[in-house]
Structure formats: structure tokens, C-alpha cells
């Protein structure tokens, strides 16, 4: 069954309409029922699979394979040192972590390898990186510049959502305010020069994984979104110039209807606030577009195969919730990085949802269900309570409220409370997790067929980095790093430019991040347990 057809029927041949029900339909403000009138009939969600480890050359090989099979989206996972602004040769922090959870990118040379022989004007690249995002984007631009690709032809997304790092994932480098300055610099730069680039993907995924409830994921994430809007407006950008390039990234967890209510509420809240509070007038500025990933934290190490069923149901919730793209987790991820077989089963799972279940035939098929409408309203109400609290903290400013709640540990405290409540419910048996506290016959956690990364990758990357450092002009590197420091001290300067210059002189990510840290300081969180 294909998705682009004139007539859609059930499996038994009954014709079905694109949408059912009354009231604001899909594609109509406030978009509770979806951002497009016929949703997946005209275009299925994008099946995006996040992958990558080893060296840049390895990942480049995988990218080319994806492109050969007709794919156009490249999704890059970086290793921990790269995500934290540390070079592979950082003896304190990087040893043992190079190339393990993703690809190591130290210098422009690695980015060149990563995209060697790939036409950047013909692909869309997603880079999942936050603290050092400015360096990663600068390197991508530099690779494009070298190949003569105009910057306005570069298309893609960089996660670059620093606020949720302080709240959940903890991959920050600098304190919140200077980090926000870097992000607004990037937003200004991409708005002016890279109209096809999405400079921030506002992510609730990690907030949920850290233990938040669905309503907290919704409330915290949208509050972060509003904070970025306020920061961009304060930096002189007009809301309709950038809002359409903000996108979201949500979690799809196991409580089926609650998740669907959350997705629907997200669209309604975003559209309403963007219109009423931030004065957006263009329709595209009001639409909450989001990527979804199934809940990694819901996967169990006990009877790992049953995770396939969990992922299928979560994928279904995402589809019924109207996601624009979807990543399905591999069943063995509770044990290690996914094997190729497990990753393929994960992809097949969402293909079944898309092509066999009929869920993609009708937009918002659950709309109008009393329970679904009620839980949508309830999610919205609970998110509003969060917004009220933050606005009070910030004296009417969402941006200031979020800063304050980061600073006083409110976010991490609420998340830790929710995580502990959940664990206690599992502990005392009031919440059943199959294979964990019930139906445990057949548990046989094993280490068979787990993917392991060997030490060779790290050695190779260290050699690569040493070679690049040997060959570069150290004088030029320190001159350009000095320029980064100078620009960091002057809030009227856009940091993108000196960072691009430094990258082109083959300064390492660690060197550039250190130069910025010299001015901005490094953030260490207030431990809230």
C-alpha cells in the first residue's frame, strides 16, 4: 500500500475520508488535530534513524549507503567527548569514550571526512549536539564553503537546545546566559544567511527520559521554546522571521492516550501562545512541528525481545499524535548500542505502523473521543500551571523564569521527584512493568550478540588528531582563538564569524570551547537530589 493515492480504503475495501468530526480541523488554528489538512495522506512522517559511531570515515561510508538507497536525511550522532567540547586526546575526560556512543569530530578535518563526496546542497543533515553546537555548525559551513556550496543551500537541523541540558541531559559547557547568547548569535546568523537551516530543536525527549511526567515534558519543553522566542526577540529578530524554523522533539512513552493528548496539547498551546503572546502572524510561525523518538527509558533489560512490542505501541501513539518524523528504538538498547538486526527491526516496526495499520489514512483519527479530548485538555491545564509558575519566577518573562528555575534547581527537583515516585510505584507493585515486577518467567538477560566498540577506533582518532595538529599553522590557530575570546567579550559581535575562522584554521573543538570558557566560565550544576 502506498501513501500517495486518490482513494484510501480500509483493508476490507471500505473507502475512508481524510478526516472526520467537527470543529477546527487538521490544518486549522489552533492545530490541535494536526498541522496539515490531510496529514499523512500527502506525506508520511519521516523515518529518521539516529546512528553513527567509530571514526568519521566509518560514518561517511554509512551516509553514502543511506544516500544510495534513496535516503536524503543524514543524522549524526557524536561521541561523548565531542558532545562535551573535549578533544579525543583529553587525557582526563576522553580516554575510553572516543568513538563509542557516536562519531568523534575534533577538527574540521574530521567533518571533511564525515561529508566527503557528499553534495551538501542535496542532503538534509541533522546534528544532535548542544553545548559545542556553534563549533559543529561552523565546521559544517566550512565544509560547504570548501565545496563551493552557497550557505543558503545548506539544509538541516542542529539540536542546539541548551536549556534542556541544564534541566535534564546535563551536556552543557557554559552557564545559561552566555549559552543563550551563543544560540541567539546562531539564530541571527542562520536567519540572515541560511534560510533552510533549523538552528534549534527544542527537546522534551531528554526531560522525559530523566524522569519527568508527560505534563512536565510538555510544560518544560514549551516553556523553553517560549524562552528561545523571547531571547531571539530581545536580540532584535522579528518573530515571523525565525519562528517557522523552530522545531520540537518529543518522547513517546508507554501510556498510549496520555502521549496522544500531550502531542495534541503541544500544538494547541504553541499556536495560541505564538499568536497571542508573541504576535506571530504567519501561519507557518504558529505550527508546532515535531520529531518523536520512542522512550529509551521504557526498554527493559529483562526479556529484551518484548521491547519490540513496547516500541510498536509507542510508535503508534506518535503517529496518532501527528508527528512529523519518528525514530523507533532498537529492542536491545537497554543493554548496549543497538545491533544492526535490532535497528532494522525498529525501522520495520514503524513501517508496519505506517503501511499496514491504516493509522496514516485518516488525520487525527482519535479526535472527538471524549477521553482523548479530555486528556488533551488536562495536559494543557497542567502545562499552564508550569507556565504560571515560571512567569511568576520571571516577573512576567518566560526567559527569566526559566533561568531562575534552572538556577534554583526547580526543574531538576521536579524531575527527580517524578522519577522517584515512578520507581516507588514499580517497587511496591502499584505500577506493573512486564518482565520487571510481574510476569518475570523467561527473564534471561544475556550478553550475547551485543555490539562492542573496540579500542582501535580511539587509537585511530588519536593518530588522526595528532597528524592534523602537526600539519596546521599554530600561529594562525592562536591568533584566531584570540579573536574568539575578543568577540566573546563583546555582546554586539556575532560569535559565528570568528568561530568559523578558527575552525578553518583547524583549531580543535576543545580549543575553541576552552577559549569561550575563558570568557564565559564553565557551568557546574547545583546538585539537587
Amino acid at each position: 500500500m502506498t501513501s500517495n493515492r486518490d482513494q484510501f480504503t480500509t483493508m476490507s475495501g471500505v473507502p475512508v475520508d481524510p478526516v472526520y468530526g467537527e470543529g477546527p480541523l487538521p490544518g486549522e488554528f489552533p492545530y490541535t488535530r494536526g498541522i496539515h489538512p490531510d496529514m499523512y495522506r500527502s506525506r508520511l512522517w519521516t523515518m529518521r534513524m539516529f546512528a553513527g559511531f567509530g571514526t568519521a570515515v566509518d560514518t561517511n561510508g554509512r551516509f553514502k549507503e543511506i544516500l544510495r538507497h534513496g535516503g536524503t536525511g543524514l543524522s549524526t550522532a557524536f561521541d561523548m567527548p565531542t558532545l562535551m567540547g573535549r578533544d579525543s586526546d583529553d587525557a582526563v575526560w576522553s580516554t575510553g569514550e572516543v568513538g563509542r556512543a557516536g562519531v568523534a569530530v575534533d577538527t574540521l578535518a574530521d567533518m571533511e571526512d564525515l561529508f566527503a563526496d557528499i553534495d551538501l546542497s542535496a542532503v538534509s543533515t541533522s546534528m544532535t549536539i548542544n553545548g559545542p553546537a556553534i563549533v559543529a555548525l561552523a565546521k559544517y559551513i566550512a565544509v560547504g564553503d570548501q565545496a563551493g556550496v552557497p550557505r543558503d543551500q545548506l539544509s538541516g537541523t542542529i539540536q542546539n537546545d541548551i536549556l534542556k541540558e541544564y534541566q535534564a541531559q546535563k551536556e552543557y559547557i557554559y552557564p545559561p546566559r552566555p549559552s543563550m547568547r551563543i544560540i541567539t548569535d546562531m539564530m541571527r546568523f542562520t536567519t540572515a544567511e541560511m534560510p533552510r537551516w533549523h538552528p534549534v530543536s527544542i527537546s522534551g525527549y531528554h526531560i522525559r527520559e530523566a524522569g519527568a511526567t508527560a505534563a512536565q515534558e510538555l510544560g518544560f519543553t514549551l516553556a523553553n521554546g517560549f524562552a528561545y522566542v523571547e531571547a531571539a526577540q530581545a536580540a532584535g529578530l522579528a518573530v515571523d522571521d525565525f519562528a517557522n524554523r523552530l522545531s520540537f522533539f518529543f518522547n513517546s512513552h508507554s501510556d498510549f492516550f496520555e502521549e496522544i493528548g500531550k502531542f495534541r496539547a503541544a500544538r494547541r498551546i504553541w499556536a495560541t501562545w505564538m499568536k497571542q503572546r508573541y504576535g506571530a502572524t504567519e501561519e507557518r510561525s504558529l505550527k508546532c512541528r515535531f520529531h518523536t523518538q520512542t522512550a529509551g527509558v521504557s526498554l527493559t533489560a529483562q526479556q529484551p525481545e518484548i521491547n519490540i512490542a513496547r516500541v510498536a505501541l509507542q510508535a503508534m501513539a506518535a503517529a496518532l499524535g501527528g508527528t512529523q518524523s519518528l525514530h523507533t528504538d532498537a529492542y536491545d538498547e537497554a543493554l548496549a548500542l543497538p545491533t544492526e538486526k535490532a535497528a532494522r527491526i525498529a525501522l520495520r516496526t514503524q513501517q508496519i505502523v505506517a503501511h499496514e495499520t491504516g493509522a496514516a489514512n485518516v488525520a487525527d483519527p482519535l479526535g472527538g473521543s471524549p477521553y482523548v479530548e479530555w486528556i488533551t485538555d488536562e495536559m494543557e491545564r497542567r502545562a499552564s500551571e508550569i507556565f504560571d509558575h515560571l512567569l511568576e519566577l520571571g516577573n512576567g518573562s518566560m526567559l527569566e523564569g526559566v533561568y531562575e528555575a534552572v538556577d534554583n534547581g526547580w526543574f531538576v527537583g521536579r524531575i527527580a521527584d517524578s522519577a522517584y515516585r515512578f520507581e516507588r510505584e514499580v517497587n511496591d507493585g502499584t505500577r506493573i512493568i512486564v518482565g520487571v515486577n510481574a510476569f518475570t518467567e523467561g527473564n534471561d538477560n544475556n550478553g550475547d550478540n551485543l555490539l562492542r566498540i573496540d579500542q582501535a577506533t580511539e587509537d585511530l582518532q588519536l593518530k588522526r588528531l595528532a597528524t592534523v595538529k602537526q600539519a596546521r599553522d599554530d600561529e594562525a590557530v592562536s591568533r584566531r582563538l584570540a579573536a574568539v575570546r575578543v568577540a566573546a567579550q563583546d555582546p554586539t559581535k556575532n560569535l559565528m564569524l570568528p568561530v568559523i575562522d578558527a575552525v578553518k584554521a583547524y583549531a580543535t573543538e576543545g580549543e575553541i570551547c576552552d577559549a569561550l570558557a575563558d570568557v564565559f566560565g564553565r557551568y557546574v550544576e547545583q546538585a539537587v537530589v
Binding site: M80, A334, L335, A336, A416, N427, E525
Partner: protein
């Protein structure tokens, strides 16, 4: 007669002088022991995560579980080094070290902390929590890790693992 406890608390005799033991001391020592067994001082646990990975959900849940199991948790949190853990263990006189591991780093990080403990002359059991494949558990226990806990371990299992790690210590050392 005043109670032996009264004597115990007010005694200002130089206790290092063991040749000069009043009988009441012996008495009160046994009394003290029975009081102590009813009211054991809390087990002190240093909780930390080594390396760059930022997932601290499990670590925080475990901190609360141990607190609720009447233990004192010295919470170090994320991005600790072997040096900072050792310094904390020494200064806090921790009974047990709890380490969270996520990014498949256990086989690299566990030997590092064990070596550092040996270098510092510390005989403190280490309990690991995190995603550790079953096949690696034997390797870890052989190298000297006391226990390995998985995500989803119950509060009772967590507390028992910590207490168990102390039970295995040679007595009187």
C-alpha cells in the same frame, strides 16, 4: 546508684591507659554495645558517576532509596574523576562507594577506580549500577567489584547490595 551510662558519658580518665581499667568501664562497655546494636550508626555511601555521560536519573533515585534505607549518602553526582571520588572516600570515611555507569564504560572505568583505591590503600567495597550486560558481571566481580545493580532494581535490592558489600569485608580489619 548512678547508671553505668552516666559513668560512661562523664568519664575523663585517660582511656588509652588500658592497665588501669575500673570495673564499671567493662560493664558499661557491654551496655554501650547493646545500645549501639539497637541504634547502629548509619552506613555512609559515596555516590558518583565517572566520565562524561550526563544521565543521572538512576543515581538520584538510588540516593533517595539509600536515604530511605537509613543510610547517609554523600552525593557527588556527575562528572567525577577517580581522584575526586578517592578524596571524598578518605575525608568522608565512606563505608561503600556506589558508581553509576551508563555508556558501556564499565570495563574501562571499573579497573581504574579499583586501582586508585589500591593505590590509596583504601579497602572500601564498590557497587556498580547501570546498564551492564550479564556476561560482564563475572568479569567485574572477578576484578573486585562487590555487586552490580541493573536499572529497575528494587529499593530492597539496592539497600541489600550495599549492606551485602560490607558483609563480605573481612571482620576486624
Amino acid at each position: 546508684m548512678l547508671s553505668p551510662m552516666y559513668l560512661a558519658a562523664t568519664s575523663n580518665k585517660p582511656l588509652s591507659d588500658s592497665s588501669h581499667q575500673p570495673a564499671s568501664h567493662q560493664e558499661s562497655a557491654s551496655h554501650q554495645a547493646s545500645v549501639q546494636s539497637q541504634n547502629q550508626p548509619p552506613i555512609r555511601v559515596v555516590l558518583a558517576k565517572l566520565g562524561l555521560d550526563g544521565h543521572d536519573r538512576g543515581l538520584k533515585v538510588v540516593a533517595r532509596m539509600l536515604r530511605d534505607a537509613s543510610m547517609e549518602v554523600i552525593y557527588l553526582g556527575l562528572r567525577q574523576t577517580t581522584e575526586s571520588v578517592i578524596a571524598a572516600v578518605e575525608q568522608e570515611d565512606a563505608d561503600v562507594i556506589g558508581l553509576s555507569m551508563h555508556n558501556a564504560g564499565h570495563l574501562a572505568l571499573a579497573p581504574r577506580i579499583l586501582q586508585a583505591l589500591r593505590d590509596a590503600g583504601l579497602d572500601v567495597p564498590v557497587v556498580i549500577g547501570g546498564i551492564v550486560p550479564e556476561s560482564d558481571i563475572a568479569t567485574l566481580t572477578e576484578m573486585g567489584i562487590s555487586a552490580v545493580l541493573h536499572p529497575g532494581s528494587s529499593a530492597v535490592e539496592v539497600a541489600e547490595a550495599v549492606r551485602g558489600s560490607l558483609g563480605e569485608q573481612p571482620v576486624g580489619k
